[in-house]
């Protein structure tokens, strides 16, 4: 029992160390952003579970905004990651960022419309 716990703990700490050392700073910034988005989404969902779905459209727009932002962030991270350069030869990081910003503009327009 103690060994499996120890195993899990060592795996996690090892992963954390490797993450801190290996990951470029740019990606860490994006990861922090993604963590923020996820927290916001979790808090929103928890609130909905607590007090009910009224008004439903507001809950949906807020939650889906979080989900979509997370997805766009993941896309940006994937496209900007130098290790994936081979898969995205024709998309420069600046281009990825521009797509990210453009998608967000449209997303937020729709969210503001739906939030009521």
């Amino acid at each position: 029992m103690a060994t499996s716990q120890a195993n899990v703990f060592t795996v996690v700490s090892k992963f954390y160390d490797e993450y801190v050392t290996t990951t470029p700073q740019r990606l860490k910034i994006i990861d922090a952003y993604l963590a923020y988005i996820m927290l916001t989404g979790i808090f929103q969902f928890g609130y909905c579970l607590l007090v009910g779905t009224f008004p439903f459209n507001s809950f949906l727009s807020g939650f889906i905004s979080c989900v979509a932002s997370f997805v766009l962030g993941v896309c940006l991270r994937v496209q900007v990651n130098p290790q994936n350069r081979k898969d995205f030869l024709h998309i420069s990081p600046e281009r990825a960022f521009a797509d990210f910003v453009f998608a967000h503009i449209i997303l937020h327009l729709v969210v503001m419309n739906f939030i009521g």
Partner: protein, 650 residues
Amino acid sequence: MTRGTTLLVLFALTVVGQALTPTTVLTTVDQARLKAVFENARPFTDLASAHYSILGLKLLGAQIPNTHMVKIEGECCQYERVEDNCNYVKSAVDYKSPESLYYASAATKALGNCQLSNSNAQNTLQAAIKDGVDVPTLFFVVSALTNLGLPVNSNEVVNALTEALKTDDSILSGSMALHIAAQLSKETDVKVIFESIEDLVAQADEVGEKYLQFEGDLGLTSFFVVGAYRLAGQQNKAPLIMEDQAVKFANYLLSRKHVQSPKNAYDVAAGLSTLGNNKYHIPVCITRESSMTVSSAQSKVQVRVSNVMSGALGKLTVKADSAERKEDGAVVLSNSALTAVAKDNTLYELDFLKTKAGRGFYTIEFSVAADKPDSRLIGLSGAQVEVKVVTTVNVEEVELSLEDKDQSTPPRVTKVQYPQKTGSNLAGDHHQNLVMKFLLKDKADNSAMEAHQAFVRLTNKRTKQEVIFVAEADDDHVYKFELDIGASAKEHFNSLSGLYAMDLVVGDALIQNPFAWNVADLQLKFPEDSATSEEKPNLYQPREEIKHMFREPEVRPPATVSTAFTGLVLLPVLILLGLWIKLGVNIANFPLSLSAIGFHIGLGSILVLYYLFFVQLNMFDTLKYLAILGTLTFLAGNRLLGSIANKRKK
């Protein structure tokens, strides 16, 4: 051709067999109504309706009202008496139109002491007979000339008429030709026109073997009938109209007697008047005058025998050929003569109860013969009249009994005599059957009979609810009513125990004294457990008022909870900023170039725009501003990112 058709006609007559007789008659009430139609045509609106009104009243033998009150123009409620008819006709006539002269001349002739300007009329009328004149114009011209007493050139007219008829074979023109020919001098050869009567009749449409008409047009049919008999009278020859056809024409005109306009009323009156008095065919009408019911109080059946205008036909012998009962076809009389009623020379009566006919519906068939033989009379046989003979009913041998279902004790029988009631209330409960027997007897011959309605009605004395059962008769006409109190409790009585009034209801079309007789009061007791203690809610009382409930607002969490969560949701922003600072986000490298500042300001302004969209703007305005801001931001961002990319490449 004429011999052939005559043979065919005779053949058809023999095949048909039963003679036809008019269905109804133009009663004095009908004639009064037609008179009212004519009188109500005043004040006259046009010459034609004046013409029909005046001629119609004259035809029905009524006084033509001469003056009436006319409102004075402009002044309220002031009237003056106006000498009407003649002045109106003289002012309304158009001396240049033959049609107008026709209407006016007929009206003045009927009025008697009215004169048109003959010279003016003559000029127009005689000029109208020229080459290529059509039949209607000829009709108006000849009629007007004759009415005004002016000379008519018969030969010229006949030639023009024959010429016009070659191209015009409508029924109206054919009928007009008859009228024209009847007004020419006796020497004129109008044989062709006279024989056209037969062809015209052949074009008439028969409806249901009872009616004969032209194109469903009352005016056309009446015009033809009047013209045909007028010409026949002038030529002293019988028109080639068969008796049956004459009767069918009469039936059609009689069927249209409920008309409302002066023209239609005149058509009815003129047609029937011709058929009521001409030299060849006078249909005889037989209609029932007395009430349909024949009873011991009024045993005489009275019929009116007259012409179609309810006019007398002289001394007649009227016989009832047969009287047949509808139910079983029994013939109760044959060949009985009717006696004339003293005060009215068209009424004849027959004492029907002398035939000792029992109750029932009877069809009596009559035949008529004139004391002085008159070949004009047609429709002398086959007239039918319906009467019903009623009787008084007695109810006898009424027995009420309550039997135990298991037959353990003998039933108690109570005898009741109509119209009394049982002395004491009968009591029954769900173990028993209620049985009632009775016999209906015809008072006239003391025979047992059945009635259409023989019901037993039980009324709950408290709630007034009724249950009605049917009593059935067996082969000996003994009525029996049986009620299983236990079985019928739920279905009929709603298991309501209590005092019930029992009535026997008897009725029939042939009974003079239908009755509802309270035979007894019953105390009925139903099994308790199946009783519905509350009564059925009365469906016809006002119901509870339904209060409208407005839509209640949704349940919201208290304000503190939502505020707390708002704060909680904004917390991750702080966490993000903390993380970024810890990671060492590089803000120092911010290029202070136009595109950089422009890009960031553009993005910021878009977010501000979204906030404004949330609070105030609508989608269209937002899109408009977004387009502008988006373009600027795009340009700036493009420049900025491009420069960053170049810098990176370098």
